[in-house]
Symmetry: C2
Subunit: 249 residues, 2 copies
DNA sequence: TCTCGTATAGTTGTCGGACAACGGACATCT
DNA sequence: AGATGTCCGTTGTCCGACAACTATACGAGA
C-alpha cells in the first residue's frame, strides 16, 4: 500500500487524522473485536494497516488511553481495557440529544420558553458582550423514549444566531441548529456538578416531592475560545447515567 | 544546548518525559506566566528551551489541551485558556486528601470502621479473587479544616496490603499507605456520579434532614489493569466543588 | 486612496526512519 | 531447581523534512 504525506489512507478525510483513527478504533473496541485484556495490534501493525505514520497512531492510542479504553505498557503493547461496557463518559462534549441517541434511545425535546431579551450584567461579562445586547433565553425539557430525563435552562448571546433568526426557528437540538446555521462549533465546556432537590425546577408539576437532580452547570466555548452558551441542566436522578474516567495522567 | 536521546534535559528524570514536561507547563500556567488568551512559546521554542524532541513537546501540549488548560490552532500556535482558576478537575485521579491539600486546606480523616472480612460474591467478581479470600472494609469520614466534607465506604482485597498487615496500621490516606508499602499504583478509576439523600449514610448523626450528597461510586485500577479498590464516597453537597472539563476530542 | 489578489514568513500537522529502554521468553550455567 | 545471560519484540524518544494552514505585507489595478 502506498501512502504519501497527503495521500489516501484507510480513513475518511474530514477532521484531523488521529481523531478519525481514534474514532475508528473506538468503534472496533465497542464491537468487541478484542476481548478485555487482549492485545491490540502493535503500533507498527496499525501504521501498516491504516497507512498513516506512527506519530498519528501513537496520538490516537494516547487518546484512547486517556479515555480509559485501552492500557499501554512499554515493551509489551496496548491492551483492551476490561471495562464492561463502552460508555459515553462525561468528559466527551456532546449534546444531550446525541448522547441519548448513542445509548440506543429516541431523543425528544419540548420547549417551554424561548425568547430574546436583554442580557443581565453577569451575562454580559460571561459572553463578553456590551450592555443592551440581546440573549436567547430557553427553557425546555429533554426526553428519552418519551420519558423526561432532564429540565434545561439555557442562555445564548444573540450573535450565535443568523441575523434573520426568530426564536420559533429553534425547534430541536441547539447544537444541531448551530451546526446547520454557521454558528460556533463547541470545543470545550467547563461543567460544574452539583446535587440539588428543588421542585420548582420542573414547571409542569410532573415530579413528586423529594425528587433529586444532578445539576450540570456548564459554560461552553467555541474554537476561538469564546464563551457562547451557558446551560443549567437538571437531570432527574436515576434516569441518566453519568460516568467519568479518571486517569493519573 | 546539547541533547541526546538519553541525555540530560531541563526536567527531572523519574517518570515519562512528556508527563514531566506537561506538569512543568501546568505549573507555569498556574503561576499565570501567560495571561488568558496569550500565546505560549511555539513548539520549536519549547524544544529549544527544554532540550527535548518536538514529539515530546507535542504530546505534552496535547495533554494540556485535553485538560482544557490551553487551546491549539493550526498555523497560529498554542494559547492559554481563559478559564478563571486552574482547577483540579474530576478527571484527574487523585486521593481526596491530596485534592483537599491542593485546594489550600488542611485534610483530616477519622476512621469509624476498619476490619478484615471474607469477600462477598460481587466483590470476588470485582477483584478477581477466589471464594473465602479476605477484603478490608473501611468506613471513614474525611475532613477539610476540621469540617466534614465526605463519608466514604471503601473495600480493598487483602493482597494489596503487606503480609503482616493489621487494620490498625492504616491511619491516614489509603493512597499514601499503598505508595509507602509496595501496594498497587492507581492508574485509572471509573467513577459513577449520582445524587443521593439518605441520612443513614452519616453514622454520627451530625447531619440535618434533607442533606444532599454527591456520590462518587468508583472502581480503581492499577497499572496492570487489576481492580484493587472500590469506594463509595458521599460528598456533602456544597462543601466540595466538582468540575469537569469536557472536550470535543 | 481603496480593494483585492498574491507572495511570504511563521506555526502546527503529518510523515519516515532511527536508536534507546524495557519486558518477556528461552537458553545456559551453577 | 534456581540463578543468570542473551535474544527479540514492543513502546519511548529523537531527528529532520515537508504539507497545510494563518496572518501579514506588498503591489497591481481600479
Amino acid at each position: 500500500m502506498v501512502s504519501t504525506k497527503t495521500g489516501e489512507n484507510r480513513l475518511g478525510s474530514r477532521t484531523a487524522l488521529p481523531v478519525r483513527l481514534a474514532d475508528d478504533l473506538r468503534g472496533r473496541l465497542a464491537a468487541h473485536e478484542w476481548s478485555p485484556g487482549e492485545q491490540l495490534p502493535t503500533e507498527a501493525d496499525l501504521v501498516h494497516t491504516y497507512g498513516v505514520s506512527r506519530a498519528t497512531v501513537r496520538q490516537a492510542l494516547k487518546t484512547l488511553e486517556g479515555r480509559g479504553l485501552i492500557t499501554t505498557r512499554r515493551g509489551r503493547g496496548s491492551f483492551a481495557a476490561d471495562v464492561g461496557t463502552i460508555h459515553a463518559g462525561m468528559q466527551e462534549l456532546k449534546s444531550i440529544t446525541a448522547t441519548i441517541a448513542e445509548m440506543g434511545h429516541r431523543p425528544g425535546m419540548r420547549y417551554h420558553h424561548r425568547v430574546l431579551r436583554v442580557a443581565t450584567g453577569v451575562e454580559q461579562d460571561m459572553f463578553g458582550i456590551g450592555p443592551g445586547e440581546q440573549v436567547l433565553d430557553i427553557q425546555r425539557k429533554i426526553m428519552a423514549d418519551d420519558i423526561v430525563v432532564a429540565y434545561s435552562y439555557d442562555v445564548l448571546p444573540r450573535w450565535v444566531f443568523p441575523t434573520d433568526f426568530r426564536p420559533k426557528d429553534l425547534t430541536g437540538s441547539v447544537f444541531a441548529f448551530l451546526a446547520d446555521n454557521d454558528g460556533p462549533t463547541p470545543v470545550r465546556a467547563l461543567a460544574n456538578v452539583k446535587a440539588v432537590s428543588d421542585l420548582s425546577i420542573a414547571w409542569d408539576g410532573a415530579l413528586e416531592p423529594g425528587e433529586l437532580f444532578l445539576l450540570l452547570d456548564q459554560l461552553h466555548y467555541d474554537e476561538h475560545n469564546r464563551a457562547f452558551m451557558y446551560t443549567r441542566s437538571y437531570f432527574i436522578e436515576g434516569r441518566f447515567a453519568f460516568t467519568v474516567m479518571r486517569t493519573a495522567r
